[in-house]
Amino acid sequence: MSIFGFRISPSSAMNLDTIDRSRFEELCRIEPDAARCMSCGACSATCPASEFSGMSVRKVLLCLQRGKEEEAFRMMNNCMLCGKCTMVCPRGINTRHLILSICRIYDKEDKR
């Protein structure tokens, strides 16, 4: 194999054909409201942890749906479970339990 000094970079596209959404579906079974997010961003704006780790429930949900789990975990790292997002959610999503459920279902190590 020759060394050229550059490589084929992996595609940045999210390929929905290859993303494994089984855990997200599991999450939706426990938290049917997870699917009801309309991405308004109120949760992100009010989150005290967003300052530290860029936490945003909206983005977490989206990342999990689009196979960007690592990104979601990174954001969730500073979640304090304070419940401000629950208070401001216009759809009344129980974000606190949602976050706890994510913490239970998903696993950093386990790459399904």
Binding site: G5, F6, R7, I8, S9, S11
Partner: protein, 356 residues
């Protein structure tokens, strides 16, 4: 794929192309990459079809690459182009044909800009006059040289010795057509067949007996992208795009790729070697690559010209399997003999990509 649907779109994007009397301008880089191509264009148009094609040694670059790389302002590019038009006017021609896709795109863009902003055209006229005391008329018709081969495709097919079919079973060859981005993506109405499903190369392939294959990444850029390839840090990105195209066309088992742009055939050809060396993957059959040819080369092949006179030995991917499939005779020993049988030396062979 619904063929009638595409035909309907093609019928919407018909371009008027005069039959004769063209002022021909060459590409800056094609002569280095595929030296046989432009020569073959002249050969076919002048000698085979007997058309009037004029070219002058005084023409320069169109400034397209510099313009797209943001190194010169558009006015500069316009003045360069204005000078080319002046050469055409001086020579007494009205139809302007460019060999290069980027030039063609550049000319189209400039003519459209002048059309929208006549004051800019006046300014350029003034600048050209100040710079070299020349005046010009805008070309009446602007074409890319593939437009002309498209126009003459049936004449060529009549005179052809070979067709793009498998000589063993008469099956049409599976041909990938790749259109240069600047051909019609900017101005769909200026290309034959529009931007989504351009017909220019597809028409040639159909006339010459091949079968066009439509793969998902058909519209995707070859990966050249001036700003990508020329900066080494971005070169991987350039390669990735080509890789994406090949991955996408692979299941269709193409026999060959026809292109109409200076950069595309070069990158589609050479990157196959790089991918083979990096990943060990080849896209042709039996460890070969997929031969990438310019439309002039294909025209030359079907007309029966000697492959080595067309410069096919300068391709990275071996063309011999394709020639065998069509049944074009060639002399393997003569591959690396140049003009007057002068030895041009054999290149070293790659590890993973099968070549001769």
């Amino acid at each position: 794929m619904i063929y009638q649907g595409k035909q309907k779109i093609w019928s919407d994007y018909q371009k008027e192309i005069p039959d004769d009397h063209w002022f021909y301008v060459r590409s800056c880089i094609r002569q280095n990459f595929f030296p046989g191509s432009e020569r073959m264009m002249m050969e076919i148009c002048r000698n085979v079809l007997g058309k009037d094609f004029y070219e002058t040694e005084h023409h320069t670059t169109c400034g397209g690459i510099a313009y797209h790389c943001d190194t010169i302002p558009q006015e500069t590019a316009m003045t360069i182009v204005a000078r080319q038009f002046a050469l055409m006017t001086e020579a007494g021609y009205e139809n302007y044909v460019a060999s290069c896709i980027t030039s063609f795109g550049n000319y189209t863009e400039i003519l459209e800009t002048w059309h929208e902003f006549p004051e800019l055209e006046a300014k350029i006229r003034e600048m050209l006059w100040k710079a070299c005391r020349k005046e010009f008329n805008k070309p009446k018709y602007l074409a890319h040289s593939s437009d002309l081969i498209y126009k003459y495709r049936n004449d060529i097919a009549e005179k052809a010795r070979f067709r793009l079919v498998d000589k063993e079973n008469g099956e049409p060859l599976r041909v990938v057509e790749h259109i240069g981005c600047h051909y019609s993506k900017m101005f769909p109405s200026k290309g034959v067949g529009g931007a989504e499903y351009p017909y220019v190369l597809a028409g040639m392939i159909e006339s010459w007996g091949g079968n066009v294959i439509d793969y998902p990444e058909r519209r995707h850029c070859c990966g050249y992208g001036f700003r990508q390839y020329h900066v080494k840090a971005n070169r991987g990105y350039s390669l990735s795009n080509t890789h994406k195209k090949f991955e996408s066309m692979e299941p269709y088992k193409p026999d060959m790729i026809i292109t109409n742009c200076p950069g595309c055939p070069y990158f589609l050809d050479r990157w196959q070697y790089v991918i083979a060396e990096m990943e060990g993957k080849t896209y042709g059959q039996n460890g070969y690559g997929i031969p990438v040819l310019t439309y002039e080369e294909v025209a030359g092949l079907v007309l029966g010209y000697d492959p080595w006179d067309l410069g096919l030995q300068l391709h990275q991917v071996a063309v011999e399997p394709l020639l065998d499939k069509i049944g074009i005779e060639y002399c393997a020993e003569d591959k690396y003999k140049g003009l007057n049988r002068k030895d041009i030396m054999r290149p070293g062979l790659p590890e993973n990509l099968k070549c001769f």
